[in-house]
Amino acid sequence: MKGRYDDENLKWIPILIIAVYLSPFLLKSATFSYKYYLYILNMAGIYMILTVGLDLLSGFTGLMSLGHAAFLAIGAYTSAILVDQAGLPFELSLIITPVIVGLCGLMIGFPALRIEGMYLGLTTMGFGFIVKRLIIAFRDWTGGSAGLQVSKATLFGFTISNDWNNYFMIYTFAIIAIIVARRIVKSKLGRVFMAIRDSEQAAQASGINIAKYKMLSFFISGMFAGFAGVLFAHTNHFISTDHFDILLSVYFIVMVLVGGVGSIYGAVLGTLFIVLMENMFIPLFKDTLTQYMHLEAGDFQAFIFGLIMLLFIIFQPMGLYGMWLKMRIYWKLFPFNPRKRFT
């Protein structure tokens, strides 16, 4: 029996999942360079797992984090060390690493009990720098600044060796992560997180221990990031501190913002949008535009991202997912004044 308020568009989900699994075959038949596109999609899949977790923390609980690249780094390095140096099987690392990263999240959650907003952002950012220095300092395990080679993932005897296999592994886990996140959001926990974001007083009056649930939010978010980190390490086969700079954390925030703060599907859409934008659409018109605008390649990218974010914040604060909801309502009510129905 279905719960009363399960999502009404649940029937689309199996179709979407089938589409996810079919798309590599379509890509393969459509283009010769499908491996490149698959790689980009894989990256989006890994980032998706992380941004869904970030959305739980920043979008739902209202705790800003600029340290998620660091969580990703901890996850990647922990898994690399556990699997390659301690000899643990990959499957075990998939379970242990997220917990370890979640505990790191818990640690960073302590200051969150006292500070909020921008200051929390700065604190988490500082955490990112500390992690980077620590990775360099523990060079015996992490390879220092030269980076670390990571073995291929072995899942139940199968070695996941190329982009094709990576795709299926990553997206299976991404789908699981999205479903788990949806469950969290649609349950008691989701209600608590949103109550903490919107009204701490109401939350306390309802018997919610705010400190406990803020920490829990950091823990869960850290777990998602750690999970993404494991996949990151074992599908890229090389990690170094240069991967996880502060800009990556900012990108994650942008992904969540563009997708729509406070909706899981929004985070997924935003991640896809930004990753595809960065790697496929911007290069298309980069050359022509740089001629006229006298911007260098990197500046151009930053310029476009800044513009996108600005436009979204001004015109579409609910993000891509909000746009989709509006469109749906528009067509539902079509002949009758569809404007301003959605707030």
């Binding site: 608590v192 949103m194 221990n209």
Partner: protein
Amino acid sequence: MDNLKIQNLHMNFSGVKALDDVSFKVQKGEVFSLIGPNGSGKSTLFNCINGFCIPQQGSIKFENVDLLKIKPHETVKHGISRTFQNLQNVPYMTLLDNVLLGAHRRLSMTDTFNRWISQKEREREEAMALEVLDFLGIANFEKKYLSGQPYGIQKLVEIARALICKPKMILMDEPAAGMNDQETLEIAKIISEIRDILGITVLVVEHDMNLVMSISDRICVLDSGKILAMGKPVEVKNHPEVIKVFLGDEAHA
């Protein structure tokens, strides 16, 4: 029988006396109103009962539980829930979710990860939330998002959230603030029903004198943190000090 016992409460906000030697008792199953001009310490008193503020002196006991020793979120455990003066809701959740927030303590963690195990528990709570919404007369809105709903409904949702905690006592901070006459009447009806049908003690802070006089069993008048008068509505109404404070020169006119 005494339900809430407040004794010699003193509260200072950096020199400003918010509460000055306040003591009273609230009996079980009565509507007890706190009135007084702005800044007379009504909300502070609520916050002290709720644990948001800690008074410098005095004691607050609720059914032999020392409320000063527990944290804000634990008051619900001991049967006290409250609503707020300005709306404290979650706009981007449905009405039903907002009400279920109050049922937080009765839902276990398995709700998140195992909907099959906790399905019964969840259905029970949803049914209860619907019952509460029905009781308040807004059951048809349960799937609507709270943001964009009329103010009156948002106020009622807060009361619903307080009710679903199954409290022994509800603290209501200005339940009729910002409402029109008809809605105020409805609130009055609801408050008396809460007392009569559910048997819950209600502690109300309110500015609307008509509402207070019509629903209260007893009234306590606060002024600058001191108790000015206490008693049945009729007694308080005719108390000379109260007339002076509340109506000022109008009484003589």
